[in-house]
Amino acid sequence: MAVEERDPVSGYLTTGHEWNGIKELNTPVPRTVVFLLWATFLYSVVYWILMPAWPLGVTYTKGLLGIDQRNTVAEQIKDAASDRTKWSKLIDTESFEAIQADPKLMKIVRQTGATLFGDNCAACHGRTAEGGNGFPTLVSQAFLWGGTPDAIAETIRVGINSPHKDSRTSQMPAFGRDGMLKREQIDDVVDYVRSLSNPAVAKAIAPAKLASGKAVFTDNCVACHGENATGNIELGAPNLRDNFWIYSGGAQSVFTTVWGGRQGHMPSWDSRLSALDRKILALYLVNLRAAGP
């Protein structure tokens, strides 16, 4: 030691160097630091022995516990599913009516259905299932394919105009674009259709125009929408007399429908959701409708 310099504050020696005014103390490494270094290292060694850890060329050490994250999660999911069997078995096997009559099961349906609906269906049908432009409400009485739990469950399974092999298929033809009707005829039938559910429209339109619209309707539309325009659940053709619209009831929108046709697409959930989940969703929707307006 050439020169000893002691720091007056801490009392430690400096290392003797100086860089542009900076000096360093030669304070020994505190015990705690050394201890913690060893502690974390030992913890790591134990962890390495127990868990998959070190690569060995074409394989790796598997660890004494034989744990693998994929098996772990598979087991957790299996255990969780078997924990749920106390109710899931009932929902799986009982009839819709029996489940609906059981308040305990229906509480589970509401709990489970809400999240399932939120994660899978709400994007189209809205968080409250009231639909949106192009996507039907599911809480009205106006069902395209029938509102029974069975019908709904089937719609969910196969979808509408989806790639599923059993898909429900429906098509509103493009009367204008495909040249089946003339422009005036379409204007008239649009007015007529709108008048069916909207008294204000019925009053505003000249009776002659309505009559001609009605004629066009009878010739072209009743095949699907029915004699009274109340729809046909065999074909998925909507009721045009109620106040529920898939594509909004505005003049422009109805015109677009008749001119260009429609083919709504509801995905199939056959391979995405389990039969149990689909059944819960059907029950959830029926319940929602009963509770709703």
């Binding site: 030691m1 050439a2 020169v3 000893e4 720091d7 504050v9 801490s10 020696l13 400096t14 290392t15 003797g16 160097h17 100086e18 860089w19 542009n20 005014g21 900076i22 000096k23 360093e24 103390l25 030669n26 304070t27 020994p28 490494v29 505190p30 630091v33 913690l36 270094l37 974390t40 290292f41 913890y43 790591s44 962890y47 390495w48 868990m51 998959p52 850890a53 070190w54 690569p55 790796y60 050490t61 660890g63 744990i67 693998d68 994250q69 969780a80 924990d83 749920r84 109710w87 589970i108 709990q111 489970t112 809400a114 999240t115 399932l116 609906f117 939120g118 994660d119 709400a122 968080r127």
Partner: protein, 552 residues
């Protein structure tokens, strides 16, 4: 400043600038149907502007030999101003990003302004623009002082600084046009990556040459860290950016790696960009400015050694903690987690070393906002590394990953550590560099400090809250054993925290604006060299004491 160059340096500058112009032209032509063309034009214009700048002073008299007896600080001065400008830009964009999550239509129906494009513009502007310029500027300053040697030449530092800023400009403008490799913190495309590669090699050469000329027998700890920063970033950058361009006329390239190997390479890079850019480099900064400002010796040389090698060795193992529970094989996750835990000790070693250095200077911390910036930085460095090691535990990460908790951790580090240490160091060095007695307005430094602290706490607490709430909501089960919340419900729950974060971010941004103003005003007000540091010179001070041996 260009007049400081000698004749031959001016000629060399012209040649380099001409080379840039020609490269730019070639890119502009080859990429005329592609965003690459725009970048070619930018490179070309930058080259032409440089040429004009040099020609303008070309016939001015050469500088005298006296300059060689002084440190070469012109690049540092420019770097510091650029750092502050990038800080203001980057934080402005950051706050805009934050407000977009409150008002998603703040894109004005345009592509360039949408969240996914301005977010990387924010991260690159603050990390590379602000942080990088701060590192380059201070490293050149510290390197010369602690080696008592002038930089080896006057061209290469300019090449590094300006070339680097051209890289930053290409990066930022690229995102707005949609040019990105999508690898976080390595988003710029292949040609910008190549530019950075060259710049970085020159940067390293400057470092080695200056150290080789040093008049101190020992390399100071700040330089270990700066060197680790330069070297390791070079390795990381080279490997992670290996890619196949679609053609020389396309900005687009395809990463050499795919899938799981690409993920591991990316996060080996991504984590160590944090470690060696945002940590190692700034530790270098801290190891110089903090002891100088506090007027205290470094608490423990030995702790510096332990921390340095611990950090350099262990950090490179931990990238896989970004991939817990993913398709990355579990053995790699194990290594990432365990090394992250061990890493805490050397990290705290550095933070502790800094805070204990302040022993005997706490009264200065109380009175001096500049030193307080550095003190808060050291505290947040300790806090962030603790949090990081905690989040690296698999079960904790299962909650935190993918959530705002990560963003909170990032900004505890970015605002609390990176930005705070940089602001402190800049406030310390501006009066020294421009030979002023002090900053234009110490009151404004106080303002900046308190705005920064307020912004920091608001931001970080908001994100801790939102992150943990979101993570918990995702995994909450109801009494039936099924998921309680749908995803969109968690989005709704984030709203108040996003507002708070955006407000906090605004405070932090406002502080940076004040800082820039204060610095500009300091430069514009003439002053007398009051601090003896303003006059320090490469020649060894006649202390009369020869190089000493450490007390081993």
């Amino acid at each position: 400043m260009i007049a400081q160059l000698t004749k031959s340096e001016r000629q060399l500058a012209l040649i380099i600038l001409l080379a840039f112009t020609i490269c730019g032209l070639a890119m502009a032509i080859a990429g005329r149907q592609d965003p690459l063309g725009v970048h070619g034009a930018i490179v070309m214009l930058a080259g032409i502007a440089g040429i004009f700048g040099v020609i303008y002073v070309y016939y001015e008299p050469e500088p005298d030999e006296g300059r060689l007896a002084l440190y070469y600080d012109d690049p540092t001065k420019v770097a510091i101003i650029l750092a502050m400008i990038w800080a203001v830009i980057g934080m402005f964009i950051g706050d805009w990003v934050a407000w977009q999550l409150v008002f998603p239509n703040l894109t004005f129906d345009a592509g360039w302004s949408s969240f996914g494009r301005i977010r990387p513009a924010h991260t690159s502007a603050v990390i590379f623009g602000f942080g990088g310029n701060g590192l380059i500027g201070t490293s050149l300053y510290v390197l010369q002082r602690t080696s008592r040697a002038r930089l080896p030449d006057q061209i290469s530092p300019w090449f590094v600084l300006l070339g680097y800023n051209l890289f930053c400009l290409l990066a930022a403008t690229g995102y707005f046009m949609g040019v990105t490799q999508s690898k976080e913190y390595a988003e710029p495309e292949w040609y910008a990556d190549l530019l950075l590669e060259i710049v970085w090699i020159v940067y390293f050469v400057i470092y080695m040459r200056t150290l080789a000329r040093r008049k101190e027998p020992h390399i100071y700890v700040a330089n270990w860290y700066y060197m680790a920063f330069i070297l390791v970033v070079a390795i990381l950058h080279t490997v992670n950016n290996l890619a196949m361009p679609v053609s020389f006329g396309h900005a687009k390239s395809y990463s050499a790696f795919s899938g799981v190997q690409d993920a591991m390479t990316q996060w080996w890079y991504g984590h160590n960009a944090v470690a060696f850019f945002l940590t190692s480099g700034f530790l270098g900064m801290m190891y110089y400015y903090l002891p100088v400002r506090a007027g205290r010796p470094i608490y423990s040389y030995r702790m510096s050694i332990i921390s340095f090698w611990g950090i350099t060795f262990m950090y490179m193992w931990v990238g896989s903690h970004h991939l817990h529970y993913t398709a990355l094989p579990q053995w790699v996750q194990t290594l990432g987690m365990t090394f992250s835990l061990m890493l805490l000790i050397p990290s705290w070693g550095s933070a502790g070393n800094a805070l204990l250095t302040l022993n005997g200077a706490w009264h200065k911390v109380r009175d001096d906002a500049t030193l307080r910036f550095m003190m808060v930085a050291a505290v947040f460095y300790g806090l962030t590394t603790f949090e990081g090691s905690f989040m690296a535990i698999r079960s904790v990460n299962s909650l935190s990953h993918y959530t705002d908790w990560t963003v909170g951790h990032v900004h505890a580090g970015a605002l609390g550590w990176v930005a705070m240490i940089t602001f402190g160091s800049i406030y310390a060095s501006v009066p020294w560099l421009w030979k002023r007695e002090r900053m234009y307005s110490p009151a404004l430094v106080e303002w900046h400090f308190w705005l920064a602290v307020a912004g920091l706490f608001t931001y970080v607490f908001a994100m801790w809250n939102s992150g943990i709430i979101q993570g918990l909501m995702w995994r909450t089960y109801n009494s039936s054993g099924t998921l309680s919340y749908s995803f969109i419900e968690t989005v709704i729950a984030m709203k108040p925290y996003y507002v708070a974060r955006a407000v906090g971010g605004f405070f932090f941004f406002a502080g940076a604006v004040i800082g820039l103003y204060n610095i500009v005003m300091t430069i514009r007000t003439a002053g007398q060299p009051a601090d003896e540091r303003a006059a320090d010179r490469p020649v060894a001070q006649p202390t009369g004491v020869p190089a000493l041996q450490p007390g081993e």
